[in-house]
Symmetry: C2
Subunit: 557 residues, 2 copies
C-alpha cells in the first residue's frame, strides 16, 4: 500500500483551548507520528464542576505510542503546553521546543513528577529536527508570549506549515517580529502543501494592531490617575507586562508584581534571556509604604479567578495592600467568553470600595495576540498553500475560515477533533473518525469526561441528594425505621412537615407491606425505595432528588 | 416627630434584575408604603444551581404589610412583574398597572394560584391613583415592551419621578414614543424633588438608536438570504417581533412564530390592543411545507435557554422543522452577561449543521431598550430633579450614574438593596440599612439564598459526596462493616484499589479501636467518621468530598 500524509486534531479543533494535533506519514495504519502541542483548558461550573484542568483524550495516541517520533510544543501558553506533565507518561516521546517554552514545560514536568530531561531545546530555523519521516523547524512568529513558533514540517509528501498561535506584529515589544520576508522565502524554497492555521480571530474584520501601539495610551492613562493604579493581564503576556511596567515608569511610578504566576513567568523570561530591560520592581512591603500615587501594581487574575490577586484585592487585603476610594483598576485584557460573570462580580466589588474600574473594551489598553481576518488572508496570500486546514477554533471559527479559503480558491476542510484527514493528494480527504473526547484532572486523578462522575455532580447540584439507609435483620425482615438524610434540599415543603419525616413515614409503610421476594432482591428493593423517595419529594417540594440507597443486611450470629 | 419621605430598593440596586423598590411617607417607622415592581432574575449554575427563579427577599415588607397601600408595576418584563404571583400572598396589597402589563400580571397570579382580581387596570396620566399619602400616575415611556410606564409619585414632601426602564425613542414601532413635551410639562407643574432613574446603559457613550432604524437593514438582510431564515429575540420585545415580521413580509416571506412564550406574548398584545397590523402568521405545518426561501421563523431562546425553540432547533427537529446547510440564523438580541457560553454552544451546533449564524454585534440588527449615557443626561436636564437616585444597575452602574449627576451639580446617592434613604431634605440621607437578600424558587418552595441549601449543592458539585452508613448493635458495639457509597467521585485513586474499599477498611480499623464514650456520642462519632473519610479521600484522589454519615442504633429486643 502506498504511503500517506495525515493530519488529525485531538484537541483545539471544535473549541478554543486544549490544543493537541497529530501528523503522520507512512503506510495507512502504520504512519510514524508527531504530536504538536499538549494543552489544557479550564473547567467551569456549568459543564465540569470541581474540575481543575481539561485536556484532550490521548487514548488513540497511547495505543499507538510506539509510532510517536516526538512531541513538538509551539509556545508556552497553558492551552499548548499545560498538559505535557499530566500526559507525558502515557506517550513517552521526546519533547521538542525552544528555550523559554522549554523552561515552562520543565516546570510542568516537575510538578507532575515526570523527568524533565526528555525535553530537547532547539534553536529556531535553520536548525532542523529529524523525527522519523519528518524534518521539523521552529520558525519565530509574533504572539502574546515570547518565543512563539510556527512549525515547518517537511515530509516525503511535501511541506506543511503549522502556524501555531500568531499575529502579524512587526513591533511586538518582547519576542520576534513577524517577518514576511522569512515566510516568503519558506514558500519559495518549497511549495506549501498544506497550512494548518489559527482561526481564533476569524470574525474580527479589521487588521490586528501592534503591541507597541499601547505604550502611549497606557502611559497617558497611568499619568492621569490620582492615586494607586492597579493593572491586570495574563501573566504569560510578557510583552504586556513590559509595556505596562515601562508606562508606569514613564509616569513616575514604581512597579510591584503580585501573584505567583506573574513572578514565575517573569523569572523564567529573565532567566532564559527573552526579557531584558524590565524596569526594576519593588516588593509589596515597599509598595505599601510609598505614597499611593507613586506605585503601580501589576497583578494576576484578569479572568476573575477566585484565588488570584485581583479577586483577593477586591475582597480585602492582599500581602498588606488594600484598595481605597479614588484608586484606579485597569483590566488590560479581554474577558474570555464564559468568564464574564466572575469578572463583573470583581468589578462591582471594586466599585463598592470606591475604585474606578477601566476595561479594555475601547481597544486603547489591549490588543489581541491572534491574527484577524485580513491578517489570516495575508498569510494565505503569502504562503499560497495547496490546502488550508483551519485549527484553533470553535466549529463556527473553523467553518468561517474554511469558507474564506474556499473564496480564494484554496482547498480546505473543517476537521474537528478526531477527524483524520489524508493530505497526500491535492485535496484533503477525510479518511477516518477516531473516538476522542476530553480527559479531566479531578483532584489528582485523570478521569474521562464521559465517565459519569461529573454528570452525577451536576445532577446533585441541580436536584439535591437524598440518602436512604435501611436495615434488613437476621431473619430477612426489614426494620421499619428507614433513615433519610438530605443534602441540598429544602427542609420543608408543601405539607409543612419536614421532608425527611414524610419520606421516612412513606418508606416505613412500604417496608411493612413489601413481600419477601422484593425484600430479598437488593436491586429491586433499591429501585422501589428510590422511586418512593423521588415521588414524595416531587409532591412535597416540586423536585426529584438524586437518591442513594444503602441496604444493610445483618448477618445471623 | 415630623413626617418624612423615604426610598428603599429591595432588589435591582446592586444587580440588573429582580426589581423591587419601596417608597414611604409618614412618621419614621410608621410611613405608609408603596411597592414599585416585583421582578425576578434567573438562576445560574455558578451561583444558584437548580434554582429556577430569584427574587428580592420581602421579609421587611411582609413584617410591615399593614402599611402597604399598593403595588405598582411599571411594565411587563420578567424582571419587573415576574414575582408578583410568587410573593403576593405575603403582601396582599392591590396591584396597579396598565392594561397590557395587567394581562401579563394576571397570568403570573393564575400560575401561582393567586387571585387575579386584585389587579387594578389604569389609564395613563392624567388618571391619578390615590394610595394613602401618594398620588401616582402612569406616564407612557418608550422601552422594549408595550405600555411601559414611568411613575409620577406625588407626596406631601414633593414630586418623585420613578423612571422605570426607558429609552428615548421617538419612533418605537410599537408602544408610545418618548415625548419630551410631556416631561417638560411634568417638571413645570411641580419641581421634581427626586428622580429614581434607570442606570443599565450608563456605560454606553453614544445616544441610543430608535427601533425604527432596524426596519431597512433587517429587510435587506432577509432578502439576501438564499434559504430558510430564522431569527430570535426576547418574546417580550413586541416591537422587534413586529419589525422582524414586517421585514420578512417585505422580503416576500411568510412568518411563523415558534415557542410558547412568543405566542403567549403576541396573543396578549393583540388582545389588549397594543399590537395592531401584525402580519398574518402561518403554523409550523405550513412552514414545513413551503419552499425554504419563502419562510421566516421567529423563535424563542435568544439567551441560549436549553428548552427554548432555538436550542431545540440547534439540536434537531422542533415541531417538524429542522435546519439545513445554507439556512440563516439571526440573533436579533444582545447576549446578557453570563449567558455567553450557552449562546456560543448553540451557535456552534448551528454551524455544525451548516447554518450561517449572524449576531447583532455590529448594531444593524438590534438596538437596546435602555437609555444610554447621553440620553440619561438629557433626562436629567429635562426634569432638573433636586436629587438623582440611580437604580436598575449593578454597583458600578449606580456609582457611575451618581458621578454623572454630581458632575452636573445634582445631589445623588448610591443606594443598594436594603439602603433606606430619607428624601425629605435637599440632599438624600441614608437613615437605615435593612437586612435583605434574595429568595429562591426551588421546585415549588421559596427558600432563602443564605439557607445553606444551595451552598451544599455547590459543595457537592465541586467536591463530590460520600455517604457512610454504620450500625451500632443492641449492646452499643459498632458492627465493623461500615458501608460507603460515593456519588460524583472517581472510583479509584492513587492506590489503584476502589476508593470505597479503602475508606471502608480504614473505618473498620477505627470502629474496632474506638472506645465506648466515642461510640456512644452521635456527634463526635459522626465527626470522627467524616474526618477519616475526607482524609483517606484526600490521599487517594486529591479531593475532600462532602460526607453524610448515617448512624443506625439497633434497639434491644
Amino acid at each position: 500500500m502506498s504511503e500517506r500524509l495525515i493530519y488529525m486534531p485531538l484537541g483545539g479543533a471544535g473549541e478554543i483551548g486544549m490544543n493537541a494535533y497529530v501528523y503522520g506519514y507512512g503506510q495507512p495504519g502504520k504512519e510514524r507520528l508527531i504530536v504538536v502541542d499538549l494543552g489544557v483548558t479550564f473547567g467551569d461550573m456549568d459543564g465540569s464542576p470541581g474540575i481543575d484542568l481539561i485536556m484532550a483524550d490521548v487514548a488513540w495516541l497511547e495505543e499507538n505510542r510506539d509510532r510517536i517520533e516526538g512531541i513538538f510544543i509551539t509556545h508556552g501558553h497553558e492551552d499548548h503546553v499545560g498538559a505535557v506533565g499530566l500526559l507525558w507518561s502515557r506517550l513517552r516521546a521526546p519533547i521538542h521546543c525552544r528555550r523559554f517554552t522549554g523552561a515552562l514545560a520543565a516546570m510542568k514536568m516537575d510538578e507532575a513528577g515526570q523527568p524533565s530531561d526528555v525535553i530537547r531545546i532547539h534553536a529556531p530555523r535553520p536548525e532542523v529536527i529529524n523525527a522519523g519521516p519528518f524534518q521539523v523547524q521552529f520558525v519565530p512568529i509574533s504572539h502574546s508570549i515570547p518565543e512563539s513558533a510556527a512549525l515547518i514540517i517537511d515530509t516525503p509528501a511535501g511541506r506543511v506549515v503549522h502556524s501555531g498561535d500568531f499575529k502579524l506584529d512587526g513591533t511586538p515589544v518582547v519576542g520576534e517580529p513577524f517577518d514576511p520576508q522569512v515566510w516568503h522565502q519558506i514558500a519559495q524554497e518549497k511549495g506549501i502543501k498544506a497550512l494548518a492555521c489559527d482561526s481564533t480571530n476569524i470574525f474580527s474584520p479589521h487588521p490586528g494592531r501592534s503591541e507597541a501601539l499601547l505604550a502611549e495610551p497606557l502611559a497617558a492613562f497611568i499619568k492621569a490617575q490620582p492615586n494607586l493604579v492597579v493593572t491586570t493581564t495574563f501573566a504569560s503576556n510578557v510583552a504586556r507586562l513590559k509595556t505596562l511596567a515601562e508606562a508606569a515608569t514613564a509616569a513616575g511610578r514604581k512597579v510591584c508584581l503580585l501573584g505567583r504566576a506573574m513572578r514565575k513567568m517573569v523569572t523564567a523570561a529573565v532567566e532564559t534571556g527573552v526579557l531584558t530591560d524590565f524596569p526594576a520592581v519593588i516588593g509589596s512591603d515597599e509598595a505599601a509604604e510609598l505614597p499611593r500615587n507613586q506605585v503601580m501594581l501589576i497583578v494576576t487574575g484578569s479572568q476573575g479567578e477566585r484565588r488570584a490577586a485581583t479577586a483577593q484585592l477586591a475582597r480585602g487585603r492582599y500581602l498588606g495592600l488594600s484598595l481605597k476610594e479614588g484608586d484606579s483598576f485597569l483590566f488590560s485584557s479581554r474577558t474570555i467568553p464564559g468568564n464574564e460573570r466572575g469578572v463583573i462580580r470583581i468589578m462591582n466589588a471594586l466599585s463598592e470600595k470606591g475604585v474606578d474600574v477601566f476595561d479594555a473594551d475601547d481597544g486603547f489598553y489591549h490588543v489581541s495576540g491572534h491574527a484577524n481576518r485580513p491578517d489570516i488572508e495575508a498569510v494565505h496570500d503569502l504562503l499560497r498553500p495547496g490546502i488550508v486546514i483551519p485549527m484553533h477554533g470553535e466549529h463556527m471559527h473553523l467553518r468561517a475560515h474554511a469558507k474564506l479559503a474556499a473564496e480564494k480558491g484554496i482547498a480546505s476542510v473543517v476537521a474537528t477533533n478526531g477527524t483524520m484527514v489524508d493530505l497526500t493528494g491535492d485535496r484533503p480527504v477525510v479518511v477516518e473518525h477516531v473516538e476522542t473526547g476530553r480527559t479531566y484532572l479531578d483532584g489528582n486523578v485523570l478521569i474521562g469526561a464521559m465517565d459519569g462522575i461529573v454528570r452525577d455532580r451536576i445532577r446533585m447540584a441541580l436536584n439535591g441528594h437524598a440518602m436512604v439507609s435501611i436495615i434488613i435483620d437476621e431473619n430477612d425482615a426489614p426494620l421499619p425505621d428507614a433513615w433519610v438524610e438530605t443534602m441540598g434540599l429544602p427542609e420543608r415543603g408543601r405539607a409543612g412537615v419536614p421532608l425527611v419525616d414524610h419520606v421516612e413515614s412513606e418508606l416505613a409503610d412500604f417496608l411493612t407491606r413489601a413481600d419477601d421476594r422484593l425484600i430479598g432482591n437488593d436491586d429491586k428493593l433499591e429501585e422501589a425505595i428510590r422511586k418512593i423517595t423521588r415521588q414524595v419529594s416531587m409532591e412535597e417540594i416540586g423536585k426529584k432528588p438524586e437518591v442513594t440507597v444503602v441496604i444493610s443486611r445483618l448477618a445471623a450470629d
